[in-house]
């Protein structure tokens, strides 16, 4: 069982993800407020973070959040981030794997919303397995 922390302001969407993750035997905590999420993560290390990009007060708060986490120090080092996105900063086609880099887009992987729940399950399993191997 893994501890998954989800930062997502759309609770209808988050609830669907929680159900799928629970069916995989994982524990999921959802935080709709990105500021509170940062405070929580400074004291608690999850096994995986599922992160939305756009939040009500900032269109790209999720990306900035991922960049901040990267600089947070040893507690969060190595925690994979799975980004869920409905838009791309450059054009609304979704992100490409080629966009991932440690400064602009510091995440382990991403999925374009709307998410295929089977794809989400596979992605989460893969990221947790990779993370366990890295330890």
């Amino acid at each position: 069982m893994a501890n998954i922390y989800m930062v997502e302001d759309d609770l209808d969407f988050a609830d669907a993800v929680v159900r799928v993750m629970k069916s995989m035997g994982h524990f999921v905590e959802v935080e709709p407020d990105i500021t509170r999420a940062l405070e929580h993560l400074r004291e608690n290390r999850p096994d995986l973070i599922i992160l939305d990009v756009m939040f009500p007060e900032d269109s790209f708060a999720g990306l900035e959040f991922a960049r901040t986490l990267q600089k947070e120090g040893p507690l969060l080092k190595g925690v994979p981030i799975l980004l869920l996105t409905a838009v791309n900063e450059k054009y609304s086609m979704g992100f490409s794997v080629m966009d991932i880099d440690n400064s602009f887009f510091p995440v382990a992987d991403f999925l374009d919303k709307s998410v295929d729940l089977d794809v989400l399950k596979n992605k989460v399993a893969q990221l947790l397995a990779d993370s366990a191997k890295a330890k």
């Binding site: 759309d10 969407f13 756009m54 054009y91 998410v115």
Partner: protein
């Protein structure tokens, strides 16, 4: 047999300007001009130094000078050239230091010092060359004009008044006998004749200085008008950039606001379809499946409508085309559609050679992704999509070919496939997700980038899109 159709390009490029400079920064409109030209002003002085030295050297050819009625073996040009040489080197070194420290005020002071120093040197030149026998006094005009360009109007007026005063003092001292008149000419008779006239030197000073003032008035007025216009343009540019950023932000926000509810609907319908909430009866399952499919299609359509609107709104203003690697944009697009190809069990085969063109990279990716998605979605299961990128031998225009062996398009329908919301009945039957907007987006980007787009197709045989990109300038 496949029938060809070539998308006609509009006569004028729609909304693209090459190499549009970045917006100028805020501040005084003459400041960028000042920074750009303060060194140039010094460089110009090297030419003056060379002319003075050359003239001094030529004066040591007595026969040559005599042929023009000029004095020979004159040394003052060397003296002035030497003074200018040292001071110019000092000014240049000072500017370098000021530029490094970003001291704009210091640069302005440096420029004013240069102009003041030049006026004194011009006065010495005027005195030596002949203040009334020659038209050398018009050398002041160069500095008056330059000060009108570089300095605010009031300061350029000060420069003009200083020039008038220096010329008047020079002529006054010569006329009053405090300074021995000098001339380039061997014969001093013209000066003597002028001095004998009752109106001299007032008429002479008056006519020259009225000319200075008129030149100052016209040039400074023109310069002020240009500065005002430049300031207006800068403000307009700033507003346009702000509006463009705001529009982009709005489009992204709208996309998110429209897509997010669909993401929630689809995630929840998947929960029902995949049994996360228990078994549903067959009718209920079928209804949920319909809700899921229609919401998926609607989300796709909204995304494409927004994308087209976004591209259109951007093209109302000029876009900056820069050199871009067509092969890299194509590779990135292939990676993005690879999951769709896997889902449709279609193999993507690419042969990409390096090829560069001018364009907006994001737009090229959108164009490629739409064409690739089309090729995949209209292929049959187990089919293959071939993608090639190269610059043909003897040409400098990159070419991209996207070829499928899918359902194809009837020749009579080819001219309409780029119309918004147009879908052939065969396309609708094969792919229910088709929105009819993908190729309209392709057309828009092709037109704005001057990409020649040719399509060859035949029902049952597949479709080939051939794109010919503009060559890089000088490529």
């Amino acid at each position: 047999m496949r029938q060809p159709y070539e998308l006609p390009l509009p006569l004028e490029p729609a909304g693209l300007e090459e190499g549009l400079p970045p917006p100028a920064g805020a501040g005084h409109s003459f400041e960028p001009l000042l920074l750009a030209n303060v060194t140039w002003y010094c460089e110009l002085r090297w030419i003056v130094i060379a002319i003075l030295a050359a003239f001094g050297a030529v004066s040591f050819l007595p026969d040559f000078m005599h042929a023009f009625g000029l004095k020979s073996r004159i040394t003052w040009p060397f003296a002035l050239a030497a003074i200018l040489l040292f001071t110019n080197a000092f000014f240049l070194a000072h500017i370098r230091v000021l530029k490094q420290s970003g001291d704009l005020r210091g640069i302005r002071r440096n420029l004013k010092a240069q102009i003041g120093f030049d006026l004194v040197v011009v006065t010495l030149t005027v005195h030596q060359a002949g203040s009334v026998e020659t038209t050398i006094a018009f050398l002041y005009l160069f500095h008056i004009v330059l000060s009108c360009i570089f300095l605010p109007r009031i300061e350029s007026l000060a420069v003009t008044l200083i020039a008038c005063a220096l010329y008047a003092v020079c002529l006054g001292l010569e006329t009053g006998g405090l300074l021995l008149p000098s001339t380039l000419y061997e014969n001093a008779a013209p000066r003597a004749a002028l001095s004998a006239m009752p109106g001299f030197p007032l008429i002479h000073i008056g006519s020259v200085e009225v000319t200075f003032m008129v030149v100052w008035f016209l040039t400074s007025r023109l310069s002020t008008l240009l500065r005002t216009r430049e300031k207006d343009l800068m403000e307009t540019n700033r507003r346009l950039l702000f509006a463009q950023t705001e529009r982009m932000r709005f489009m992204l926000q709208t996309t998110h606001e429209l897509k997010a509810p669909f993401a929630a609907i689809q995630a929840n319908t998947q929960l029902l379809l995949k049994g996360y909430c228990g078994e549903l009866n067959r009718d209920a399952l079928e209804i949920v499946r319909r809700i899921h499919e229609r919401s998926h299609r609607l989300a796709g359509m909204i995304q494409e409508m927004l994308q087209l609107a976004n591209l259109r709104s951007r093209s109302e203003g000029p876009l900056r085309r820069v050199p871009v690697s067509v092969a890299s944009a194509l590779l990135s697009s292939i990676e993005q559609v690879r999951p769709i190809a896997e889902e449709h069990r279609v193999t993507l085969r690419e042969e990409l050679e390096q090829a560069d063109s001018l364009g907006v990279e994001d737009h090229l990716k959108v164009l490629f992704i739409n064409l690739l998605k089309n090729a995949i979605q209209y292929s049959r299961k187990g089919g293959e999509v071939r993608v090639r990128c190269r610059v043909p031998p003897g040409s400098s225009e990159p070419q991209v070919v996207i070829e499928d062996r899918g359902i194809g398009i009837a020749p009579g329908k080819l001219p309409r496939i780029f119309d918004e919301y147009y879908r052939t009945s065969e396309a609708v039957a094969h792919n229910k997700d088709s929105t009819g907007l993908g190729l309209a987006i392709v057309r828009h980007i092709a037109e704005t980038h001057r990409i020649r787009l040719r399509v060859e197709s035949a029902p049952g045989e597949g479709t080939v899109f051939l794109l010919r990109f503009p060559a890089l300038p000088g490529g």
